[in-house]
C-alpha cells in the first residue's frame, strides 16, 4: 500500500474513529481511504467545507471522546494553524498529517518538499511546544501514525505527522501487526468527583486527566488563558502558569518522546542528519561513503519536534562535521547548528523542492567534509 493508505490504516489501528478533512494533493488518499474504511468499523468520515473547519471538527470530536484526525498539505496546513493553537491551549488530543508538497502558496502540488518544518513548530501564534514525527516509508507512516495517536492521547495535544509527497505516494509492503501486539495509549480520565475535579490541574508528570463531554463533569473549555478550573484568567500570572505547564509537559518528557535511528555513530567522523524521504537518500550516501572508506554516520530524526538537542551536542563534540540533508532552503539545519553549538562545522545539502535529494549529492558533501582539515 502507499504511504497515505498506511497512514489511514495506522490511524484505525490506533483507535481513530473520526476523520474530518478537505481534499488536497498529495494527502487526498488519506481522506479517501478514511472515507472508505471508517464506516466499515462504525466510525465517522466527514468532508468539511475547508481545512479550518476540518481542524475545528477534530477538536470537537476529541472532546466528544473519540480519537480524531485530519490530513492535509501546505495550503490546508496554513489554514489549520489557528485551531492547532486552540488544540494546544485546550490540551486536546488529535492528529494532523501533513503530506508536504513544495510551496510557498500553491507551489508544486504534486511534487515533494519538506518546507513546513518550522511552520509545524511555530505556525500558530504564541509560544508553545509541539510534537511532530517524520516517517521515511509507508511502514513508518503506519507505525508513526499509531505513535502520534498515543503521544497525543498521553500528552494531550495535537501531534503532527510531517510526511512528504514521495512517502505518501510510494508503494511498499506494510506489515500490520496483530491487534494485541499494538500498544495503544488512551487519555487519562479523572478519578475524583465533579466537585473535586479541576480540569487543568496536572498530575506529577505535568499531564492533567481529561474529562470528555458528557462524562458528567460539566467542564468549561476555552482558548483564553485559563486557570486550573478551565476558567478565563486574564493576567500575566495565569499566563505564566499555564504556558509553563504546556511547555514543561513536553520539555520535561523529551527523553520519552524523542526517537532517532542512528547508523555507525560509534566511530563516525562525518554525521549526516536527515528525516523523511531525505533520510533514505542520506542512508544510501552514508553506506556508499563507508564503502569508499569514509567514516560516515547517520542520525535519522523520527521525531522532528522536540529536536534531539542533547544527542546532537554530544555527537557534534566528537565529530569532524555534521551535514543536514533536507528538501527546503535550510530549516532543520538551523536547529542542527544551534544544537552543535560550534563544536563542529555544520553544512546543508538541499534543494527547494520538486525532486528528492540525490544520494550522490550528499555523498559529495560527506567526502568533502571528511577531507577538510580540522
Amino acid at each position: 500500500m502507499n504511504g497515505d493508505e498506511a497512514c489511514c490504516e495506522g490511524a484505525l489501528a490506533a483507535g481513530c474513529r473520526f476523520f474530518a478533512g478537505y481534499p488536497i494533493t498529495p494527502a487526498t488518499e488519506v481522506a479517501e481511504s478514511m472515507s472508505r474504511r471508517l464506516p466499515e468499523i462504525g466510525g465517522i468520515y466527514i468532508q468539511m467545507e475547508d481545512e479550518i473547519a476540518s481542524m475545528a471538527a477534530i477538536l470537537g470530536a476529541s472532546w466528544g471522546g473519540v480519537k480524531s484526525m485530519t490530513s492535509t498539505s501546505g495550503p490546508g496546513f496554513s489554514l489549520m494553524m489557528e485551531n492547532i493553537g486552540l488544540g494546544i491551549c485546550t490540551e486536546t488530543p488529535c492528529v494532523v498529517c501533513n503530506v508536504q508538497r513544495a510551496g510557498p502558496s500553491t507551489g508544486l502540488p504534486t511534487l515533494v518538499a519538506q518546507g513546513d518544518m518550522m511552520q509545524a513548530r511555530w505556525g500558530s501564534h504564541g509560544h508553545y511546544e509541539i510534537i511532530a514525527l517524520s516517517p521515511s516509508s509507508p511502514q513508518e507512516m503506519f507505525d508513526f501514525t499509531i505513535r502520534a495517536f498515543n503521544l497525543s492521547e498521553y500528552y494531550r495535544l495535537p501531534v503532527i505527522i510531517l510526511a512528504d509527497e514521495t512517502i505518501g505516494h510510494m508503494n511498499e509492503r506494510v506489515i500490520i501487526p496483530q491487534e494485541e501486539d499494538i500498544e495503544i495509549v488512551n487519555r487519562r480520565k479523572p478519578t475524583v468527583s465533579r466537585e473535586d475535579y479541576l480540569p487543568y490541574e496536572a498530575d506529577a508528570d505535568g499531564i492533567a486527566p481529561m474529562a470528555n463531554c458528557g462524562d458528567g463533569y460539566r467542564i468549561h473549555v476555552t482558548g483564553l488563558t485559563h486557570d486550573d478550573r478551565g476558567y478565563p484568567a486574564m493576567d500575566a500570572k495565569a499566563q505564566e502558569k499555564m504556558i509553563t505547564r504546556l511547555v514543561d509537559k513536553i520539555r520535561k518528557n523529551r527523553d520519552k518522546i524523542i526517537r532517532t535511528q542512528n547508523l555507525y555513530l560509534d566511530d563516525a567522523d562525518v554525521v549526516v542528519v536527515s528525516y523523511g524521504i531525505s533520510a533514505r537518500s542520506a542512508m544510501q550516501a552514508v553506506r556508499d561513503a563507508r564503502k569508499d572508506g569514509i567514516k560516515a554516520g547517520l542520525i535519522k530524526l523520527d521525531t522532528i519536534w522536540p529536536f534531539p538537542e542533547e544527542l546532537i551536542r554530544s555527537v557534534a563534540s566528537r565529530s569532524k562535521a555534521m551535514i543536514m540533508a533536507e528538501i527546503n532552503g535550510g530549516q532543520m539545519v538551523l536547529e542542527l547548528e544551534r544544537s552543535a553549538f560550534g563544536a563542529c562545522p555544520v553544512s546543508l545539502v538541499s534543494n527547494f523542492g520538486g525532486r528528492i535529494l540525490h544520494p550522490g549529492l550528499i555523498l559529495n558533501a560527506v567526502a568533502k567534509a571528511a577531507k577538510e582539515k580540522t
Binding site: 474513529r17 473520526f18 474530518a20 464506516p39 466499515e40 468499523i41 462504525g42 465517522i44 466527514i46 468539511m48 467545507e49 475547508d50 479550518i52 473547519a53 476540518s54 475545528a56 471538527a57 477534530i58 477538536l59 470537537g60 470530536a61 476529541s62 472532546w63 466528544g64 471522546g65 473519540v66 480524531s68 489557528e82 485551531n83 486552540l86 470528555n212 463531554c213 458528557g214 462524562d215 458528567g216 463533569y217 460539566r218 467542564i219 468549561h220 473549555v221 476555552t222 482558548g223 483564553l224 486557570d227 476558567y231 478565563p232 484568567a233 486574564m234 493576567d235 495565569a238
Partner: protein
C-alpha cells in the same frame, strides 16, 4: 474582566443549577441585551427537562460567545467563527448529545459564514442562537455583515455602505429546519422559540435582535439600554409563517419577527446511517437500533 471569587451569602437564583455562579459578575456592559438572551436560553434548556449532562454549549468569540463560560454544562468557547465546525465534530462523535451554539452576528455570518451555510445544508442536528446586535460588540463596535445600510460604527463613521444579510432568509435558504426571529424584549416568545428549536430535529436557528447600548446604541444615538430595548420592540411586527425573504429587518421602519420555518428534513446522521446501512453489512451488524440518537 475580573476573576470572580465564589460569591457567598446571596439568595439562590432560579437558574443556579445551570449557572457557574462562581464566575459572576459577568463581563457584559450594564444594560447589554445579551444577559436577557442568556436567561432565555437557560430557561429554554430547563424547560426541556433534559439531563444537563447530555447537553453541550459551543460558542465562538465575541461578547455573545462568553455565554459558554457562564453556563454549567459542558461548554466550549472555541475560536472566532469556528463554533459550528467544532460543534459538528462534537455532535458526530457523541450523537446523543444535544448541542446548542450561541454566538454573535459577526462570528456566525462574517468569519464563520462559510461554516454556517454548510452546517445548515448538511442539516446538522443542532440549535444555533444568534445574538444580532448589528455590530462587533467585543472589539468596540465595528461594522458587521448585519450592520444596517447607513448605520454608524467605528469603521463606518459616515454610515455603512453595505447592505446587510437577512440572517433568517439565509438560514432558511441553506436548509435550516426551524427558523425564528425575536427581539430580546419579547422574552416569552423568545424562550418558547428556543425551546422549540432545541426540541427540533435538525439545524434550528433563532435570531435575537439585541441591544448593544455601549457601541451600536451609542454611535447611532439610540438612547439608554432600556430605550433601545423598547425601540426594537416597538419596531417589531409579528408575521409568522411568511416567506423569510420578506421578513425584513429595517430598524428605521419595521423588524419582522416570528417563526418563519418549521419543517422536517433528514439530518446528516440520518443520511449517513442510511447510505451505510444500504451498502455495508458491517454497519448493519454494528447498528441494529438505527433510530437511536438524534
Amino acid at each position: 474582566m475580573t476573576t470572580a471569587k465564589a460569591v457567598k451569602n446571596v439568595p439562590p437564583h432560579p437558574m443556579d443549577g445551570l449557572l457557574r455562579t462562581e464566575r459572576i459578575p459577568h463581563i457584559w456592559c450594564p444594560g447589554c441585551g445579551i444577559g436577557t438572551v442568556f436567561s432565555a436560553v437557560l430557561a429554554a434548556i430547563k424547560n426541556t427537562g433534559w439531563d444537563p449532562n447530555t447537553i453541550a454549549m459551543v460558542s465562538g468569540i465575541g461578547c455573545t460567545g462568553r455565554m459558554a463560560g457562564y453556563i454549567r454544562l459542558d461548554s466550549f468557547h472555541t475560536t472566532h467563527g469556528r463554533a459550528l465546525p467544532f460543534a459538528t465534530g462534537l455532535k458526530l462523535a457523541k450523537p446523543d448529545t444535544k448541542v446548542i451554539i450561541v454566538s454573535g452576528d459577526g462570528d456566525l455570518f462574517a468569519i464563520g459564514g462559510n461554516h454556517f451555510i454548510h452546517a445548515a445544508r448538511r442539516n446538522m442536528d443542532m440549535t444555533v442562537v444568534c445574538v444580532n446586535n448589528f455590530n462587533y460588540g467585543m472589539t468596540g463596535g465595528q461594522q458587521a455583515p448585519s450592520t444596517p445600510l447607513g448605520a454608524k460604527t467605528t469603521t463606518t463613521v459616515n454610515g455603512s455602505p453595505e447592505e446587510p444579510f437577512n440572517l433568517c432568509d439565509l438560514a432558511a435558504t441553506c436548509g435550516a429546519t426551524y427558523v425564528a426571529r425575536w427581539t430580546a424584549m419579547q422574552v416569552r416568545s423568545l424562550r418558547s422559540s428556543i425551546s422549540e428549536a432545541l426540541e427540533k430535529r435538525g439545524f434550528s436557528f433563532v435570531e435575537v435582535i439585541t441591544p448593544c447600548p455601549s457601541s451600536f446604541g451609542r454611535r447611532n444615538r439610540m438612547g439608554t439600554a432600556l430605550e433601545m430595548m423598547k425601540f426594537y420592540q416597538g419596531r417589531s411586527v409579528i408575521r409568522s409563517d411568511i416567506d423569510p425573504s420578506e421578513a425584513v429587518v429595517d430598524i428605521d421602519r419595521e423588524i419582522v419577527v416570528g417563526k418563519f420555518v418549521d419543517i422536517e428534513r433528514p439530518t446528516f446522521m440520518d443520511h449517513y446511517e442510511k447510505v451505510n446501512r444500504l451498502n455495508l453489512p458491517q454497519w448493519r451488524a454494528m447498528h441494529p437500533d438505527h433510530q437511536k440518537g438524534r
